[in-house]
């Protein structure tokens, strides 16, 4: 009877993956053919999230919060904190969406390559899942506490993002720079 459990799990797994494949294939938004141009566009879109770094940094500015807390009326304070929270959430959601899109395009393009590296793909998945989990926790904290009180959790995100960064820079050293001609202009910033 104990053998029935793994068999039942295996069977359920096949069904779940089958349904996922069906949903993925029926998804009208997913175009079957993805090109390097789509990928470049996604990279540009992700870059655009950070275009006005100073303005985004301002969302989390503690000085602004201190100034408003000191001199504004309760109504203005409430409005200020609500707006900042809304902006912070919007920005984080947009970043998450763009990263997800980039990973999606990476996977779709990777399927056309001659030698995808399972090790790197696994590493990428693990790091991406960590990013998703942590960024969602930050999202929840921003929603609950607002951008100013959530500073501690955000500092944790920074450490996590640092690890995320290191993984990508490690393998970069192995790449022959002469083969990067097509991506050179976007790699050098």
């Amino acid at each position: 009877m104990t053998g029935l459990l793994p068999i039942s799990l295996l069977s359920s797994l096949i069904l779940v993956l089958g349904v996922r494949l069906l949903v993925q294939s029926l998804n009208k938004r997913q175009r079957p053919a993805v090109t390097i141009h789509d990928y470049s566009n996604a990279r540009e879109a992700l870059d655009s999230v950070f275009v006005q770094t100073a303005a985004i940094k301002r969302i989390f500015s503690v000085e602004d919060a201190e100034f408003v807390a000191r001199s504004a009326t309760p109504d203005v304070k409430r409005m200020f904190f609500n707006e900042r929270r809304k902006l912070a959430l919007q920005w984080l959601r947009r970043t998450q969406k763009q990263v997800a899109q980039l990973i999606d395009l990476h996977l779709r393009l990777a399927s056309h390559t001659n030698d995808p590296s399972p090790g790197f793909e696994l590493n990428l998945t693990a790091k991406y899942l960590t990013f998703v989990v942590v960024s969602n926790i930050v999202l929840m904290l921003l929603w609950l506490l607002g951008p100013f009180k959530a500073t501690r959790s955000i500092s944790y995100t920074i450490r996590m993002a640092g690890g995320f960064c290191t993984t990508f820079s490690l393998r970069l050293k192995r790449v022959n720079p002469t083969r990067l001609s097509s991506g050179r202009e976007s790699l050098v910033h």
Binding site: G3, L4, I7, S8, L10, S11, I14, L15, L17, G18, R20, L21, S25, Q30, P32, A33, T35, I36, Y39, L46, D47, V49, F50, T53, I56, K57, F60, V62, T95, V99, L102, D104, L107, R108, L109, A110, S111, H112, T113, N114, D115, P116, S117, P118, F120, T157, I158, A161, F164, C165, T167, F168, S169, L172, V175, L180, S182, S186, L187, H189
Partner: protein, 253 residues
């Protein structure tokens, strides 16, 4: 009565799938799949003849034809693999390696288990071999499906129907075989009905999906895709590293 209806309907649908395949020319594109359908149709006819003219041989014939169709069903898995990854050499290579490892592990486990429990009778041994072959197939299929979903491999409607039909059939068959092999379940009415019913649904899915020739997904031109994985990985790493740096810069108090 209902079992007979299911059985006759499934056999009729098999005939329809085969004749449509010949009429539309899909039989050439998915030759291995149609070999499997041909095998099942033949075994069904053989079973009916045996049941009518030599009922005493029926159990033996049933289990032997069952084993033959299970072996033939591997052709469907190979067909799905061959057709879906023909434009993705890297993923195909990776999948082949992964499937080989799983195949060896599951086959070894099944052989040892079979050897340990011994052979009570020829029909029973045949049934056990068939069950283990299904388990191997059941272990291979999720890996393929996972890779298809992970790499977003685009499938045409013909191939999608073929894949989903197989996934449904194999998943229910694996569970069915497992429950059937448990003591006391040999003559369960539910299990006896569930199997042909699920097969009928599967053949219906195949019939709908393979009714006419559907265009394959559009492939991007060679100049529009990147064949070198290292280049693509480097680009992704670079953009994600840059994003992380900017993210840190923005959030730093």
């Amino acid at each position: 009565m209902s079992t007979d209806f299911i059985w006759w309907s499934a056999t009729a649908l098999e005939g329809v799938v085969l004749s449509r395949g010949v009429a539309t020319g899909l039989v050439r594109r998915y030759s291995l799949f149609y070999v499997y359908i041909g095998c099942t149709l033949l075994s069904d006819i053989l079973r009916v003849c045996c049941y009518q003219f030599a009922p005493s041989f029926y159990p033996e014939v049933y289990w032997h034809t069952e084993l033959a169709t299970v072996i033939a069903s591997y052709a469907v898995v190979i067909e799905i693999f061959r057709q879906s990854l023909r434009h993705n050499p890297g993923v195909a290579h990776f999948t082949r390696r992964l499937l080989s490892v799983v195949c060896v592990v599951v086959f070894t486990y099944a052989s040892l288990d079979l050897w340990q429990h011994g052979f009570a009778s020829l029909p029973r041994a045949t049934a056990d071999v068939g069950r283990y072959l299904r388990y191997v197939e059941g272990a291979l299929l999720p890996i393929m499906l996972w890779l298809f979903t992970r790499y977003r491999i685009p499938l045409g409607r013909n191939l999608l129907g073929l894949t989903l039909g197989s996934a449904f059939w194999i998943s229910l068959n694996v569970v069915n075989f497992a429950f059937w092999s448990e003591p006391g379940n040999e003559s369960s009415f539910v299990l006896r009905t569930l199997r042909p019913a699920s097969y009928l649904i599967t053949v219906a899915v195949w019939c709908i999906a393979l009714w006419s020739v559907q265009a394959d997904p559009v492939r991007p031109a060679e100049s529009e895709i990147e064949r070198d994985y290292e280049v693509l990985a480097a680009k992704t790493r670079a953009i994600l590293a840059r994003t992380s740096n900017r993210f840190v810069k923005v959030m730093r108090p």
